[in-house]
Amino acid sequence: MKTHKTAKTKQTPLEFHNRIVDQVVHEAKPKGIHVQPATQWLLWLAASLLVMAFFWMHWGVQANVSQVMQQMPPLFFILSAFAGASLAAWEAITSSIPGRQTGKLYRVLAVLVLIALVSIPFIFFVHPGSLDLGKALVNGTGCAEGAAFSGLIPWIFMGWMLSRNASFHPWWTGLWSGVSAFLMGTITIQIHCPSWDMDHVLMTHLLPAAVGTIFASLLGAFWFSRWKK
C-alpha cells in the first residue's frame, strides 16, 4: 500500500480525517483468517515435536535414555529446556500481536527458567579435569551442527507464522522466536548425544542455541517488520 504524505494542507481535522478514511477504506480487501495466538503456539509445538521425532528417527537416541532420564539433573535439564522453549514461543507470538503482550512477571519467569537451564550443567554435570571449551567445541562440531540444524527448521516455521502477525518490536519477537526454536534443537541433540559432560553440553548443545538466537533476532528485525511496508 502506498503511503500518503500530504497531511499539511489547510483542512479542518474532519476533512483531513475523511480524506484518509476514503483512502484506506478503498483498500479494505478481505485478508486471510488470522490464527489465534494459542493455536499458533500449538502449531509451533506440534511442528517442533514432529521435527524432533524426525531427527530422532534419523539419528537415533542415546542407548540408555530411559535410565538417564530417571536421574534428576538430566531430567531437569530437558524439562527446563522444554519449559524455556515453550515460554519463549508464547512470548514471541504474543509480542507480535497488538494488545496481547505478556506482563513483566511472565518475562521474568521466562528469563529465570533460562538462567536455571544454563546453570544446571555448571552445577550438576560432570566437570572435566581441565576446562578447555575451545577443544570441546572442536571435538563436538557434529553435535553443534545438529543442534543448529534441528533448531533452524522450527524457527523457519515459526518465523513464517510470526511474519503474518504485526510486531511492533520485531527484534524482540525475533529474539524469543530464536530462543524457542533453537532450544528445541538443544533438546533434540541432547536426547541423541550420550555425553552429559559440562563443557560438551555448554559448547555444542547450548552455544548453538545462543548463536541461533542472535541470528534470529537480527533476521527477525527485518523479517517481522515487513508487514508495515
Binding site: A7, I20, V25, A28, P98, N165, A166, F168
Partner: protein
C-alpha cells in the same frame, strides 16, 4: 470489526468515523508539536489499517486499538527525530548556489562532477541535468532501474564528499 476483516467497506468507514475523534485526541495528547499531529494521526490510521487483521473479534477492542496507536505514534516520532537530525532547514542553507544565474553549473560543481567516475557522472547527468525519469535514464544506459539508483546514489555520495573537501 469482524465485518471489516471480511472486507465490508461501509462497516470499515463507520468504524473509522467512530474511533477517529478518540484517536485524534489520543495523538494530540501525546504529540507536543501541533504541526506534527496530522501527520502522526495519518500514520496511526495507516498502521491500524495494515494491522487490522490481527484483531480478534472475541476480545475487547481497546487494548488492541491503543497498542497499535501508541506504537505507531512512537514509530512516527522516532522516524521524525531521525529525519530532523539529518535535515538542514532551508533558512540555514547558504545563499550562494552551485548553479550560476543562467542555470549553468558553477565551476566548483563542474569540476567535482568531472572528477567522478564515468558511470556515476553519467547517471547524475541524465537524472539531474537532463531531467530524465529513472525509467528513461535506465533505458538510455541499458541497465536496470535498481542499478541506476545505486550508481546515482554512489555518485551523489562522491560528489558530496568532493564538494565538502573543496569547501575546507
Amino acid at each position: 470489526m469482524a465485518k471489516i476483516q471480511e472486507g465490508d467497506q461501509e462497516a470499515y468507514r463507520q468504524f473509522l468515523n467512530e474511533i477517529g475523534p478518540l484517536l485524534f485526541n489520543y495523538v494530540r495528547r501525546r504529540v507536543f508539536n501541533p504541526e506534527m499531529v496530522p501527520d502522526v494521526y495519518q500514520e496511526v490510521l495507516l498502521t491500524l489499517h495494515k494491522a487490522r487483521f490481527t484483531y480478534e473479534p472475541s476480545r475487547p477492542l481497546g487494548p488492541w486499538l491503543f497498542t497499535v496507536a501508541r506504537n505507531s505514534i512512537l514509530d512516527a516520532l522516532g522516524r521524525n527525530r531521525k529525519f530532523a537530525e539529518r535535515e538542514v532547514p532551508t533558512e540555514t542553507l547558504p545563499e550562494s548556489s552551485a548553479l550560476e544565474a543562467d542555470g549553468s553549473l558553477g565551476d566548483e560543481l563542474h569540476q567535482a562532477l568531472n572528477s567522478l567516475s564515468p558511470i556515476h557522472r553519467e547517471a547524475i547527468e541524465l537524472l539531474k541535468l537532463r531531467g530524465l525519469s529513472l525509467d528513461e535514464a535506465a533505458k538510455e544506459l541499458k541497465i536496470s532501474v535498481a542499478a541506476l539508483k545505486v550508481r546515482a546514489h554512489r555518485g551523489y555520495e562522491q560528489l558530496r564528499k568532493l564538494l565538502i573537501e573543496k569547501k575546507k
